[in-house]
């Protein structure tokens, strides 16, 4: 099941559906920290070491979000921000800048030039993940709808026998999951690259989809979305999670 599912998802869910983030930061340790945080949350991350590389990268690839350090070699973060804003508004491409507390003048200049948010040093991994997730969530309802509408399994409502057998063995749930439900939960619960989720062995998939999902996902992610939108994505999403919630509570 895992291989077949992974193949299907690879075909259907292009890179455009997985957030792609550009990180421009000259300090290797900070750069790698941010990259690890964002990849852990399922994003595709490109990193560069200076402002001129950031501009080149921005011009050659399509990003969902850009994270910039203020002070970098060659071209500083403000100049990169100005270049981005010459063609992309803050709604089209959010930009987050990394700053130190004492650099108020830089913060004001960035705000004037259309920055969306700031990371204030010291950087906390949990904070980075949460803030980026919120920024991307506010923008990608259309993409979520695309993912759900274009699920191209042989039969999205077909039961997922391997997963369900395992669930029963572990006494986690006697309720059968369909492919679509598993995929939806995986995508929405974790924010991870769905190809990664789909390729997991059953034990890990259960952990990702069910165990973690029961705790905070419903309250943190689903209900705000349901209340704020009546899109097809949200309706499908609600059905899946009601289904899980009723059976797992």
């Amino acid at each position: 099941m895992g291989d077949q599912l992974a193949e299907d998802v690879f075909v259907d869910l292009t890179f455009a559906t997985v957030p792609r983030i550009l990180v421009a930061e000259d300090s290797e340790d900070v750069r790698e920290l941010i990259k690890a945080c964002l990849e852990k949350a399922g994003n595709i991350v490109d990193t560069v070491e200076d402002g001129s590389q950031a501009i080149n990268q921005f011009l050659t690839a399509d990003y969902n979000l850009v994270i910039l350090d203020f002070i970098m070699p060659e071209v500083n973060g403000i100049e990169v921000l100005k270049t981005i804003r010459a063609t992309k508004s803050s709604e089209q491409l959010p930009v987050v800048m990394i700053t130190a507390k004492q650099k108020n003048s830089l913060v004001i200049e960035a705000a004037r030039n259309g920055v969306n948010d700031f990371f204030v040093k010291p950087l906390r991994p949990s904070f980075i993940k949460e803030r980026i997730s919120n920024l991307l969530m506010s923008l990608d309802d259309g993409e979520i709808a695309d993912i759900l509408l274009n699920l191209n399994l042989p039969d999205p409502n077909e039961l997922n026998p391997e997963l369900n057998r395992k669930l029963q063995e572990l006494s986690l749930s006697a309720y059968p999951f369909t492919h679509k439900e598993v995929k939806c939960c995986a995508i929405f619960r974790t924010g991870k690259d769905p190809r990664y989720i789909a390729g997991l062995p059953p034990d890990r998939m259960i952990q990702e989809v069910v165990l973690y999902g029961k705790g905070g996902f419903l309250w943190n992610v689903i209900w705000p979305k349901v209340n704020s939108s009546d899109s097809i994505a949200c309706r499908d999403y609600l059905n899946v999670e009601e289904y899980l919630f009723e059976k797992l509570k």
């Binding site: 290797e28 790698e32 920290l33 852990k40 010291p122 950087l123 906390r124 949990s126």
Partner: protein, 118 residues
């Protein structure tokens, strides 16, 4: 004084939690990067102090402040920030004393963080 008063435990715990099944070596790798960065910059810093290159001292101390703070080395970051902010007014002797304090605290933090990550 408890050494943990000198660190930001929340950040350190966050970093430790980054090591999981997907990326088991994250913390160890991050520690290697931090140590490499600090070792290189400690040398650059003493070279700049001895050469009385105050602008360079400020820049290097600024980088060390950021990296230390991001690793939860709160007191080490304070020492580096103090050097960064006062480099213009300090004489060479004062900067060397501050550099000595930074080295001592860095060694203590390194020992502490290696125990935490073990």
């Amino acid at each position: 004084m408890n050494y943990e008063d000198r660190v930001d435990l929340e950040i350190i715990e966050d970093l430790l939690e980054m090591s999981d099944e997907d990326n088991p070596e994250f913390f160890a790798d991050h520690l290697v990067r931090f140590s490499k960065f600090m070792d290189e910059n400690k040398q650059n810093l003493i070279d700049a102090i001895q050469g009385c290159e105050r602008g360079k001292v400020e820049t290097i101390a600024h980088s060390m402040t950021g990296s230390s703070a991001n690793f939860g080395a709160k007191y080490l970051a304070e020492l580096c920030r103090s050097l960064e902010q006062n480099a213009k007014s300090m004489d060479s002797g004062e900067m060397k004393l501050k550099y000595g304090d930074i080295c001592v605290e860095y060694d203590q933090f390194s020992a502490y963080i290696r125990r935490k990550g073990a």
